[in-house]
């Protein structure tokens, strides 16, 4: 992928396309390691641009809206799991994309 920003803006631009993206796919498109993409996603989550969808996995399935819908029901997730772009993340991604296209 030819992204005109940096890895962080590149990640947001990929997500701005919508849909589900795997970490491997994003890493391939941005030319970065998967570990780095995970690190960036976790930082964006701390900043409120992404939100985890299975943050109850540490305590198992109780209380999780996705518990019956999870790829591994009944198990606590030990890894990254899944995150969704928040409204703030979407707004920032679209603003930055507009800036990039405008330039």
């Amino acid at each position: 992928m030819n992204h005109s920003g940096n890895l962080v803006t590149g990640l947001l631009q990929v997500l701005d396309e919508g849909g589900i993206h795997s970490i491997a796919e994003i890493a391939r498109r941005l030319g970065a390691g998967e570990g780095l993409i995970v690190a960036i996603a976790e930082e964006l989550q701390r900043r409120g641009l992404l939100t985890p969808l299975n943050d109850n996995c540490g305590t198992g399935c109780r209380g999780c809206a996705m518990s019956g819908a999870c790829a591994a029901p009944g198990q606590a997730s030990s890894g990254f799991g899944m995150m969704a772009l928040t409204a703030k993340g979407r707004r920032w991604a679209q603003n930055r994309f507009v800036d990039t296209m405008g330039n």
Partner: protein, 678 residues
């Protein structure tokens, strides 16, 4: 242009001999406290940071005549004020001004840990890096070239294995040495993108001389651009109103400057990683990559997904159907005979209830336990292997290829076991209208109960093409679901879309215990349902099919069924018993089988239930019946959940009516098409 070529007020702490202060910092769980405890032993004091609820640990460490006052700072991911721990850590670094900072990083996840190091380099304090858990990293095939890391960072780096007290003393040697020899210390600091240089300079000019002296101005300017709430509040209090207004306006214009600042740091991390870290690819990683070339391909992956469904049905039919048929014809028939002889002297209503209601009703449902067990086992294996996560990914990729995707698809697709969690999964959708529309369509997800009933009837209806027919029906169901998702996206989201990042787990050999638990939990759930809801429904069906006592064809149930025969005839269902069995599926999908069992009264001589039912229908009407079964109105549990989630009977009614229209339309179309073909 670098933002920190000359950090702070330009003066790192003066070199000290004899006594110095050092701060231990790092992300949570990197082994920092282990190192602190090893260094200080009993010479430590634990309390709280003044005015905070965060624990403060300080201690004395002595080495070669130097006394080091060591502070174990709280675990922190960055120096932004996201938590009290982070505030405590950075306030100490800025106000406390330790002589040297010792950053502990986890060698096995350097990408995550180096972000804090990037932030630490924006402060004037000299920095030494302790590379902990290098042994763990090596076990995972991660090889860190420590000299290369040191050279690319421009920092002293010492490899440490804290749990074995290896390298800890050497780390402190470096820290003490650096604190005493600051000349020539020239770390490689991350930079922000050039286009934000002027903005940073402008912010710095606005705050020049107006911020508390302990805080380096360029660091404060950076934090303002990052949107740090605490620094922003501090500056707001320090600046005159007109200066603050100008600054605030500038910051609002560059609200997303954080993206470039963080981006610059991660680009820096990426360069460091490429220079100093290599990863040996494990077999599991290579296998996953090879398999995912097909499994996640937009077209190939979809074909693979549909093939998997076909495989699920084929395995089920090959192993479970013969067992189910044997149970139906031999075990049920024998139970029937035993019950009839035991109850020979009992009132006729009692023997009728036991044989007609319980054995033919609930008993028939239990005969498809083998189908359920095999079905759950195959699904459980696919889940544990890691394949089902690819399923959701591929369906989304497929829809994306057509320019179509939506947030509603994810909870619907993942809720494959039962419609109830598919309805609950819609909670992730913030917009109320969009959420309710998604809930409306959740019953289109083919739950395992529907699939089990399908698996029970299809081999009898189409013995030679059972797997192909089942596979086609499920594919049709998924297409309808995809179409519904598109519709919801257009109606509810107005073409707007949401995005997800998902980790596709490595493929691995399924864990028998995990799969076993999955099968056990689902089977127990089914048995409980059979012992409660299906039992009650069976007794009710039996009662209605017996009263007023003039035989089955004159019963109350027959009256109800015949009233609906005109609808059934449009799909070739002229037998009212088939229609009643469909209606009974409202209480639980498996009730269809129980009801058919009661109404057809299968026995050892008359063949299996499914075979008897098949005789009553033409091929076209058999196909239509299966389609209607798969798409019929939601069950009671799903309806109750829809009511709970929407708080409205209107949405419940809409969901039921929608499914009714879809299933009847599909049934009629399939029947007419079947007639035309045959």
């Amino acid at each position: 242009m670098t933002y920190c070529h000359n950090p702070g007020d330009g003066s790192p702490p003066a070199a000290n001999t004899g006594e110095l202060s050092a701060a231990l910092i790092g992300q949570p769980n990197v082994g920092k406290s282990t190192i602190f405890n090893m260094l200080t032993g009993l010479n430590q004091h634990v309390g709280n940071w003044p005015g905070k609820t965060v624990e403060q640990k300080t201690g004395i460490y002595r080495q070669n005549g130097t006394s080091v006052n060591l502070v174990d700072l709280p675990g922190t991911y960055s120096l932004t004020a996201n938590s009290e721990e982070e505030r405590v850590a950075r306030d100490y670094l800025i106000v406390g001004r330790p002589d040297v900072v010792v950053a502990i990083v986890n060698a096995a996840s350097l990408e995550r840990n180096l972000y804090l190091v990037a932030e630490l380099l924006s402060l004037p304090q000299p920095l030494v890096l302790g590379l902990n858990m290098a042994d763990v990293a090596r076990q995972h095939g991660i090889l860190v070239d420590t000299p290369a890391l040191s050279a690319s960072l421009g920092l002293p780096v010492v490899e440490v294995v804290a749990t074995r007290n290896q390298g800890v003393r050497e780390l402190m040697d470096e820290a003490v040495h650096l604190a005493a020899n600051l000349d020539g210390w020239s770390p490689n600091r991350p930079t922000i993108r050039p286009e934000h240089g002027p903005v940073l300079a402008a912010v710095q000019a606005l705050i020049h001389g107006l911020t508390p002296s302990a805080y380096p101005e360029d660091w404060v300017a950076l934090k303002l651009l990052e949107g740090d709430s605490e620094i922003t509040a501090m500056v707001r209090q320090s600046l005159p109103p007109d200066a603050w207004d100008r600054l605030h306006s500038m910051l609002m214009q560059h609200e997303d400057a954080y993206l470039d600042i963080a981006g610059g740091r991660y680009e820096w991390i990426g360069r460091i990683m490429r220079a100093a870290v290599t990863r040996r690819r494990s077999g599991a990683v290579s296998l996953t990559e090879r398999l995912d070339k097909v499994a996640t391909h937009p077209i190939g992956g979809l074909v693979a997904l549909l093939a998997m469904f076909g495989l699920v049905f084929w395995v089920t039919y090959a192993i479970a159907t013969p067992i189910a048929s044997w149970l139906s014809s031999q075990v049920l028939g024998t139970l029937d005979t035993i019950a009839a002889s035991l109850l020979a002297g009992a009132p006729s209503w009692l023997s009728g209830l036991v044989t007609g209601g319980l054995i033919h009703g609930v008993g028939t449902v239990f005969t498809f336990l083998p189908i359920l067990i095999i079905f759950f086992a195959v699904l459980g294996i696919l889940e544990d292997v890691g394949y089902l996560a690819r399923g959701a990914y591929v369906m989304d990729r497929f829809m994306h290829l057509m320019g179509l995707h939506g947030k509603s698809f994810l909870p619907l697709f993942l809720g494959f076991g039962c419609n109830v969690p598919a309805v609950l999964g819609a909670r992730i959708i913030e917009d109320r209208r969009a959420r309710y529309l998604t809930i409306l369509l959740a019953p289109l997800v083919p739950c395992t109960a529907r699939l089990a009933v399908l698996a029970f009837l299809t081999p009898a209806f189409f013995p030679e093409q059972a797997a192909l027919v089942s596979f086609s029906l499920v594919a049709l169901n998924l297409l309808l679901l995809a179409a519904a998702g598109v519709l919801v996206n257009r109606l509810a989201f107005h073409g707007d879309h949401s995005a997800f990042i998902m980790e596709l787990p490595l493929y691995h050999i399924p864990n028998p215990r995990t799969v076993g638990l999955y099968v056990w939990n689902n089977t127990v759930g089914f048995v409980r349902k059979a012992g409660s809801l299906i039992l009650i429904a069976s007794m009710a069906v039996w009662a209605l099919s017996t009263l007023p006592g003039r035989g089955l064809n004159q019963s109350l149930l027959a009256g109800m069924g015949r009233a609906l025969e005109p609808v059934g005839r449009s799909m070739g269902l002229s037998d009212w018993r088939m229609i009643v069995a469909l209606l009974a599926s409202f209480f639980a999908k498996e009730n269809t089988i129980a009801t058919l069992g009661i109404l057809y009264g299968a026995s050892a001589t008359s063949g299996t239930l499914a075979q008897q039912v098949a005789i009553a229908l033409t091929p076209a009407s058999r196909l239509a019946y299966l389609v209607v079964l798969l798409l019929f109105i939601p069950c009671l549990a799903t309806v109750a959940t829809i009511r709970q989630e929407t708080g409205s009977w209107r949405w419940v009614t809409a969901s039921v009516l929608l499914l009714l229209v879809i299933c009847l339309a599909a049934g009629v179309l399939v029947y007419q098409a079947g007639l035309a073909v045959s």
